[in-house]
Structure formats: C-alpha cells, structure tokens
C-alpha cells in the first residue's frame, strides 16, 4: 500500500527513475536504500526525501509555520488516520470537516505533501461514505474532490464521484 503511494508520488513529482523500495517489519514500513548514506525508513521520511530530490520545496510548506502545519498533517496521517477503526472514522471526518471549513488546502494556499498524504489516507473512507454523509462532511468532500482532480496526482486510486444531491436536506454537523 505504502509502496504504491510512493510510486504515485514519484509520478506526480515527475521523477524520471523510479526507486526500488523494500519493506521492513509486519507493518511493511517502506525503506529506501540510498546509494550513499543510511537507508531511509518510513513513509513520511521517504516522501519528504523524494520532494527534496525533485526540488519542489514548496510542497513541504511555505515559511516556518507552513512547514510545521504540513509536518503536523503528515504525522496525523500516519499516527491517527492509518489503521483507524470504523468508530474513529466519524470523529476524524468531523475534525477534518471543521478544519477544512475555511481552507482550500491543508496548509496555506497551495497544494502540499499534506494534501497528497491526506488524500491517500482518506480515500478508503470517502469511498465508503454514503451520499448523505458526503453532504454532511461537505468541506471534506469539497477538498477531496478538488485534490483528486489535481493533474498528475491520482494514479491507482479510483475516482470518487461527488455529486450534490438535491434530495438530502439533513442538518449537517
């Protein structure tokens, strides 16, 4: 799963030569063996390395605060989102929905690695949401639809159809 994500990220970044990854442990943590230096372990570590390699530092955030926000969400993805249970999903979506109320992207006014990571992380949640729930978490749905349409971003993940449904007039919380 993580390897496919890294491969997708490589494509988005336009990296010409795909890297060879290995995994370690039961959780299949990705490992990138660099030619010089120690191996890079962990999805976040490897991803940040790829971003630097492709010379797109803006993807890691703009300014100190921006960079901190990006890192915060990268960590959120790996610690809270991945492996979350069905019960926790609702709470997570609520949190994301209120966070995204006044934001187009997770950090700042441009797409960052935080958006990419959160997109991959929330895809399985979004796929399972009913139409009514997608209306309920309208900000998450809006952000998700936006990110999945970013050129060069979506590779192996199926597109999630987002249609405003005129039937549901449920209160949203």
């Amino acid at each position: 799963m993580a390897l496919r994500e890294l491969s997708s990220l490589e494509k988005y970044l336009g990296l010409k030569k795909p890297n060879k990854y290995t995994t370690q442990g039961d959780r299949k943590v990705p490992v990138l063996q660099n030619n010089n230096g120690p191996p890079l372990v962990g999805l976040v570590t490897v991803a940040c390395h790829l971003v630097k390699e492709s010379k797109r530092p803006e993807l890691l955030g703009d300014g100190a605060e921006g960079r901190a926000v990006v890192q915060q969400w990268l960590e959120y993805r790996v610690t809270k989102l991945d492996g979350s249970s069905k019960e926790e999903t609702r709470a997570i979506l609520k949190e994301l929905n209120s966070y995204l109320e006044d934001k187009v992207y997770f950090a700042g006014h441009q797409i960052t690695l935080a958006d990419i990571f959160m997109y991959h992380g929330t895809h399985s949640l979004m796929v399972d949401l009913s139409v009514q729930e997608r209306e309920q978490f309208v900000n998450v749905t809006r952000w998700f639809d936006h990110v999945q349409h970013v050129r060069g971003l979506r590779h192996h993940l199926t597109p999630v159809a987002v249609l405003r449904n005129r039937i549901y007039t449920s209160r949203h919380h």
Binding site: E101, D102, V104, T169
Partner: protein, 223 residues
C-alpha cells in the same frame, strides 16, 4: 452578473461554493478573478464557504494575469433565477445556527446540461420535421421480351432504362434465355406506389416498339 452587493446574491454564491474550491473547474481561472473583483468587501464569517474562497482568491489575485480564461460566460447564480425555492435556508456554517443544508441552490452544471438538452431537442425536432413520411414502395421485376433473337438487347436495355418517372428507380438487370436463342431482359426496379404503377411502366416500355414485343411483371414485392 448576479448582484454581489445584495445579501441574497452573496448568500447564493456562498451556497454555490460549498462544494467547490474554485468558481470554475478545479483550478484558479479568470472566473475567480471576475467574481473576486465583483465583491466589494470581505464577506462576513457566517458565509463561511464564500469567505474561504474569498481568502483563497485573494492569495492568487496578484498573479491573476497568468490565470487561464474562464470556459463559459460566467453568470453568478442569482437568487431569483436559480434557486427554485427561495424561502429555503441557505448553507449556514456555524454549528449554533439551526440551518438546513440548502441543496436546491443553483447548480451551474445543471444549467449547462439543460441548455444542451434544449438544443438537442430543437435539433431533433427539426430533423423530424424534415424527414418525409413513410412512403409505400414496391420492388418490381419486369420481363421484357424482344421480337426475336436478332434484337439488340443492349439497345433494348438502354431504352428501358431511359424511361424516367418520378418515383422510379431502375435496378439490376440480366438476360435470361427463353429458347430458340431468344433472350428476355429481366430488369428490376423500385417504385413509389402512389407515383408509379405497373401499367404505367408497361405502357412506357412497350412504346419502344422496335425492340419490345411485350412486358410482363415477373415479380412484385412490397417493400
């Protein structure tokens, strides 16, 4: 352009932007610039989708000259023209408000789809009007017999085919031997029933007295 100076106009725009990051499509365009310039002041915080979009548009406004043109003649959703039920509450953002999700808000894509649908219906109606009513046609096979075996069958066929009538279309022909070296010309045609009858054809063909001895209908099929 809708009225951005009215509360209603802003409310409807807010509703429009609930599920969109940009006015048009999934990236910034001149449409965003146009709408941004039409809004006099920063929108109030209760129109949270509009405020979100507004702040975002403000961030890329300095680069507006680099943004692509908008695809359609962008019309701001006007509360009188687009929302079918204007009494319905709009999308409120704070959790205190007892708002219903207004999903009857204007939907630009729907408008376009409706336009295209009307266009197509008009085209279809025009085509239907031009299309002629079902015409009754028949396929007739004629046997044209010469006087003798010395009759020039090629000339005879030419004569037959020279018969022109409205609603008559000549088809394939072949020469069929009938004995004593005589061949008859078997020629098919398609006629419109109300325009051409077999007696008309027979009369026209037997007019070529030099070549044609008689004409018979070998086969007659309604198409």
């Amino acid at each position: 352009m809708g009225d951005m100076s009215t509360q209603a106009g802003l409310k409807s725009l807010n509703n429009f932007l609930a599920d969109k990051s940009y006015i048009e499509g999934f990236s910034a365009s001149q449409a965003d610039v146009a709408v941004f310039e039409a809004i006099p002041v920063s929108p109030p915080s209760n129109l949270c989708h509009l405020l979100r979009w507004y702040n975002h548009a403000k961030s890329f406004y300095p680069q507006r000259s680099n943004l692509p043109v908008s695809k359609s003649q962008y019309v701001i959703p006007n509360h009188t023209q687009n929302i079918p039920n204007p009494t319905q509450n709009n999308l409120g953002c704070s959790n205190d408000e007892d708002d219903d999700l207004d999903l009857f808000g204007s939907d630009d894509e729907d408008e376009e789809a409706e336009k295209i649908k009307q266009q197509r219906l008009a085209e279809y109606a025009a085509r239907k009007a031009k299309k002629p009513a079902l015409i009754a046609k028949s396929s007739i096979l004629l046997d044209v017999k010469p006087w003798d075996d010395e009759t020039d069958m090629v000339k005879m066929e030419e004569c037959v085919r020279s018969v022109e009538m409205e609603g008559l279309l000549w088809g394939q022909s072949k020469l069929v031997p009938v004995g004593y070296g005589i061949k008859k010309l078997q020629i098919g045609c398609v006629v419109e029933d109300d325009k051409v009858g077999t007696d008309m054809l027979e009369e026209a063909i037997t007019a070529f007295e030099d070549y044609v001895q008689s004409v018979d209908v070998a086969a007659f099929n309604k198409i």
